[in-house]
Symmetry: D2
Subunit: 134 residues, 4 copies
Amino acid sequence: MRKIKTEISIPFHDVDAMGVVWHGRYVKYLEVVRCLLLESFDYGYVRMLDSGYAWPVVDMRIKYVKPLHMDQVISIEAEVVEWENRLKIRYLIRDKESGARVSKAYTVQMAIDMASEELCFESPPILLERLRLT
Amino acid sequence: MRKIKTEISIPFHDVDAMGVVWHGRYVKYLEVVRCLLLESFDYGYVRMLDSGYAWPVVDMRIKYVKPLHMDQVISIEAEVVEWENRLKIRYLIRDKESGARVSKAYTVQMAIDMASEELCFESPPILLERLRLT
Amino acid sequence: MRKIKTEISIPFHDVDAMGVVWHGRYVKYLEVVRCLLLESFDYGYVRMLDSGYAWPVVDMRIKYVKPLHMDQVISIEAEVVEWENRLKIRYLIRDKESGARVSKAYTVQMAIDMASEELCFESPPILLERLRLT
Amino acid sequence: MRKIKTEISIPFHDVDAMGVVWHGRYVKYLEVVRCLLLESFDYGYVRMLDSGYAWPVVDMRIKYVKPLHMDQVISIEAEVVEWENRLKIRYLIRDKESGARVSKAYTVQMAIDMASEELCFESPPILLERLRLT
């Protein structure tokens, strides 16, 4: 429940003039698997808004180990690794065929109370409920 | 007032694996100059929403005459060519240095009354006012 | 063989400030299904380059019938409708659930002989072979 | 020479469904200023390739302090902070009008010898020459 995996096939429009996926496009791949992860514990985008909180990304780091090419199929794993004060998710991208590690990343999201527009320095109870930690 | 021109420098991340700007990225260039054009007669994005109408693009055509490369500077001209029932804007992209025609395009936007969520088959008076046609 | 269909789930990052998919992002969806179509008759990107021809898009038109929203699943159909002098592909996007028509589009590609860098006003024989028209 | 600053106006298509710039689009802004910085000491994209080295981004971190909105003008500063073994550039994004800090980031690039396709664990002399450190 706190971990998920999906596969993505690299499209032509993600590849840059050097013949490899432009580093900025990885952010899309992270988001695709993050959305699936959040949906898996019923706290996807719509549910988040319904709960009165927005969860903007406040920190993101991506390490690029091997280049990605057109038509390559990658597997991406995402795992919730922190939730008490902020939602930290780690990602591991592998080449599907060889299993070779392609990229590691994390994102940190913090809750914003949409009524007061204030940043929450503790995660709102709804997140812990969804993660079945209460 | 119904015509405007701007310049854009092609960034690395718009270039694809063939070494030319990926055809889908031209849509961004059209939007940049369209926004400037709409602002020029005080009917930019915020004003549009304030006026109670959204103006989604309902039709777009782009002809690609010459490829675009990284660091190339283009000049884009946009002109309102229809306004009575819909907002049609024509675009001409040239290489800035040589003046050579690179691309021609048009977009068609129709007004949606945001209160009723209905499509307007005649442009709302606010557009004609902004264009000083009334 | 000259027609294919696929499904795409709309990601968060394709949705704009109006809450609908930004019109320029449809170009990505068209490309995903076009690449599958070309692969289906063994004339995908790598094969094209191997055959000595590049096939840039020279004309594209997209009509937007209904807006697309986050998490919506679309089905896209692509069909080769012209091949003699240029490669014209038509697209139809539907909402998967209701079957409602969301968008219609076409793209036109012309062959460029990569050795001479000249535009081919007749499609090279390799395309007709791949389409099994010879 | 090791520091540069530019301004970018946020376009509509960078704004997401929450009404703020999608976090992944910041990577484009970083690249625009990084390219200007590299050009400023005559080691831009074309020069890099001519020198026999590619310089892929191997690590990137972005911290998001305040949201960005449509039409907002940002100033971005980029500075080379490491060069001996890798090229590390730090970025600071501010709201142009208020000067408020919006985002901090860094990217790390490593040289790849394009002939041998090997990663260089020391920066090639050409970088230090360009930076006038030799």
